[in-house]
Symmetry: C2
Subunit: 126 residues, 2 copies
Amino acid sequence: MSEPTHAHPVDPERVAHARSRLPSRDEAAQLTSVLSLMADPTRARVLFALDMVEELCVGDLALALEVNEDAVGYALRLLRTAGLVVNRKQGRVVYYRLADGFPEPLREHCLRQLIVLSQTPVPDEL
Amino acid sequence: MSEPTHAHPVDPERVAHARSRLPSRDEAAQLTSVLSLMADPTRARVLFALDMVEELCVGDLALALEVNEDAVGYALRLLRTAGLVVNRKQGRVVYYRLADGFPEPLREHCLRQLIVLSQTPVPDEL
DNA sequence: GTGCTACCCGTAGATCCGTACGGGTATGAG
DNA sequence: CTCATACCCGTACGGATCTACGGGTAGCAC
């Protein structure tokens, strides 16, 4: 079924309207690459924590989230290589914080809004 | 290394502060289950499209997004079973729309904000 | 120097996810 | 009735992703 049966739209007007102001596949891919970084419990909570307390070292982060250091290590690795967090080394302790360029809308509208969402959940009718 | 070396926090105050108002692992999981549904180019664009034009049938959705019907089919299957979209069958055509209970903050603050984000991208320094 | 701590990296194994394919049902046209 | 359309489902396969582990380095204590 993968090939385009149904060559002509049922509602051409709506199709055109949707097409006109829709992110391209590339734009969407770029957007979702950020989203999928937040779409993991550990990473999301790391971001929440850093949004609240400015700066935390790896071990304290593990304590705060109650996960092992492997988990935070991996989470931080991905967030770091994506440029969403930055680190600062002092002695043998490494402190992490949100990157300066951390997308402000993401922080304002998603991080903080979603923390509310997480208290008052979703429909979930199944 | 997975076991908790480093039993005592470096900055106990910040750890406590972070811990106090942090989503639990369960809350975070619930939240990220929604996020990971949006964290896919096809699904995200499906949601964008439905947010704009109210209602579209499967074939038109495939046309608008320029993807094959298998892709939209799979995307809609997941969004549907998660309760984020609903469908209405008229003849042999199936129309989809965002569910009534579609999380309003998600729609307002994320969908619409993120479409802006997708135009003016992220730091991405690597 | 030895040893411990805080963290990082690379890799193997399990698991999850998306795609493609074959086939099925129901509606409508002729 | 037969046939095409619009859509759905189940499954198999390839690729991505997460976890756990072994091992490495830099800083500090002694």
